[in-house]
Amino acid sequence: MIPAGSGSRLPDAFLAPGTSSFTDFLTAQSPELLPSSRSLPQGNAGDLAPHGTTIVAATYPGGVVMAGDRRATMGNIIAQRDIEKVFPADEFSCVGIAGTAGLAVEMVRLFQTELEHYEKIEGTTLSMDGKANRLAALIRSNLGMAMQGLAVVPLFAGYDLTGDQGRIFSYDVTGGRYEETAFHSVGSGSLFARGALKKLYRDDLSAEECVTALVQALYDAADDDSATGGPDVTRRIFPVVQVITADGGRRLPDEEVASTADRVIAARMNRPDGPAAALT
């Protein structure tokens, strides 16, 4: 599978000029490493593995923020309380995943390697649309498994250095790619989160306010969706928040997210439904 570290020369395929895509190279060289090359027996495999749930993202002037809750469920069981579902894809983009957790994490790893591989071979990064299209291709190759219940639905966000703005892309299981304006959410709690964001989002938010709006939205999702985890105050488990600006992306430190979550919880002690929006 992998050429041994010693004792053998690099196979000719490694030295052949050609593709700068890691996935294409793996397809030719070691297809068994690709998630898309596996075949499943007939039947629905959807109940076999944990599912990740809600991811939200929103843009603000100067950047984009993505946040994900920490719960993975298997039917009525909470499979994991502190799973991470938001990952940096490269320096200027991140990807959050809902759906079958195992496949999704593998797909994210492949996507990260794909972007880095291209960057190293070509000496330049892919454009924002190029990255979004590569992710669409990965999702599309998973369609067979999606039809057997192992769907992966990502949300992709990043800072577009050519357009100087944060951008968000959503996907469907067939690899359809849709650019979203302002904010979007995916996963089982996405309807509630999106409803909350509709009332909370303004286009002049600062980075901190944007993070607060997303934490509020995840709280609302957890409030009404059993598969979405709310802030766990006893275990101090809070959402993963990724902030991307023109200077690059970073994951907010846990203490910062914790203090934001604590403020949100304190306010909900007085008004459990969260901040009230103006009627007109």
């Binding site: 992998i2 570290g5 020369r9 490694f14 030295l15 890691f22 793996l26 070691s30 591989h117 000496g123």
Partner: protein
């Protein structure tokens, strides 16, 4: 119809080695220097797009001299190997030693197989660890030998002159600024045949500089130092002098490995452009050439066209190794 000629294995290997060494010495040098926070690479490379120093993986970098298309192939193979291993196992399982071994096997097999032209490249694979003591620089030569270098390493061009300069002045644990100044000064240092040395200031825009910097917060520690930051680090060094018109640098012509027709010396099977190249001593060891068997008088050496560099014409001694080991016209062959 071709006749099979006997060529001794020693002669065959020597010819291949001479061929590769000559190609490597034609370009300009690359210097790798260990400093307090990692490893610094400096090379004189006027091209902004065709790099001699590149990233392979999180903590591993690659530098090469010689023929661009060949080392570019090796670089891409290294990126593929590293990414594939990191994807199949884990990022921490990609090591410089593994990569150096794969390169060594590849170069060694190509060098000793009769069917392929030996690669005219020399490579550094550098890896940084958590501490300066864990940093590694591997030097790989055209024939697949691996050497572990400490402190500093030089390859390509007049490597011995640059290395001698560094040997005198290198100090462990230097800051990036000091290490960079030293490396740039070493690259600008030249010596002629009479042992007189001269120093020139290489303009900032002709330098390719990159570091593996363990203080970087990202997992990927490789960073290029671009023109603005470079001028800041180097400070004022006086007016720059572009390199004299030496033999054309490989990265400027990344075409296929074609022989350039002009100024080809017919008596030398390995020669492509006869510049002011000294004859085929090893640039590393200075090992003298082994004289091939003297051809009988009925097969005079083919006439040699005037050399552009103006080498003294009546100098049969050092020119001897340039001749083919077996003359095809030789009835005794």
């Amino acid at each position: 119809m071709s006749m099979p000629f006997y060529v001794s294995p020693e002669q065959l290997m020597k010819d291949r080695a001479d061929f590769a060494r000559k190609g490597i010495a034609r370009g300009r040098s690359v210097v790798a220097v260990q400093y307090a926070d990692g490893v610094l690479f400096v090379s004189e490379n006027p091209s902004q797009a065709l790099h001699k120093v590149s990233e392979i993986y999180d903590r591993i970098a690659f530098a090469a001299v010689g023929r661009y298309n060949e080392f570019e192939n090796l670089r891409i193979a290294g990126v593929r190997l590293a990414d594939m291993r990191g994807y199949a196992y884990d990022r921490r399982d990609v090591t410089g030693r593994g990569l150096a071994n794969a390169y060594a096997q590849t170069l060694g097999t190509i060098f000793s197989s009769g069917g392929e032209k030996p690669y005219e490249v020399e490579i550094f694979v550098a890896e940084i660890g958590e501490l300066a003591a864990d940093d590694q620089i591997y030097r790989l030569t055209y024939d697949g030998q691996v050497a572990d270098e400490h402190g500093y390493a030089v390859m390509g061009g007049a490597a011995d002159v640059v290395a001698a300069y560094l040997k005198e002045r290198y100090a462990e644990g230097a800051s990036l600024e000091d290490a960079l100044r030293l490396a740039v000064a070493a690259l600008g240092h030249t010596a002629n045949e009479r042992g007189e040395s001269s120093d020139r200031v290489i303009p900032d825009e002709d330098l390719e500089v990159a570091v593996l910097d363990r203080t970087r917060t990202q997992p990927r520690k490789f960073r290029r130092i671009r023109a603005a930051r470079l001028s800041e680090l180097l400070g004022d060094r006086g007016p720059g002098e572009h390199a004299a018109d030496e033999a054309p640098e490989e990265p400027e012509e990344p075409g296929p490995a074609a022989t350039s027709p002009e100024a080809d010396q017919p008596s030398d099977p390995t020669d492509q452009v006869s510049g002011g190249m000294p004859p085929l001593e090893s640039p590393v060891t200075g090992e003298p050439p082994i004289a091939p068997p003297i051809a009988p008088p009925n097969a005079p050496p083919p006439p040699r066209p005037d050399e552009p560099s103006g080498t003294a014409p009546a100098e049969p001694g050092p020119e001897e190794p340039d001749r083919p080991p077996i003359d095809p016209n030789d009835p005794l062959g």
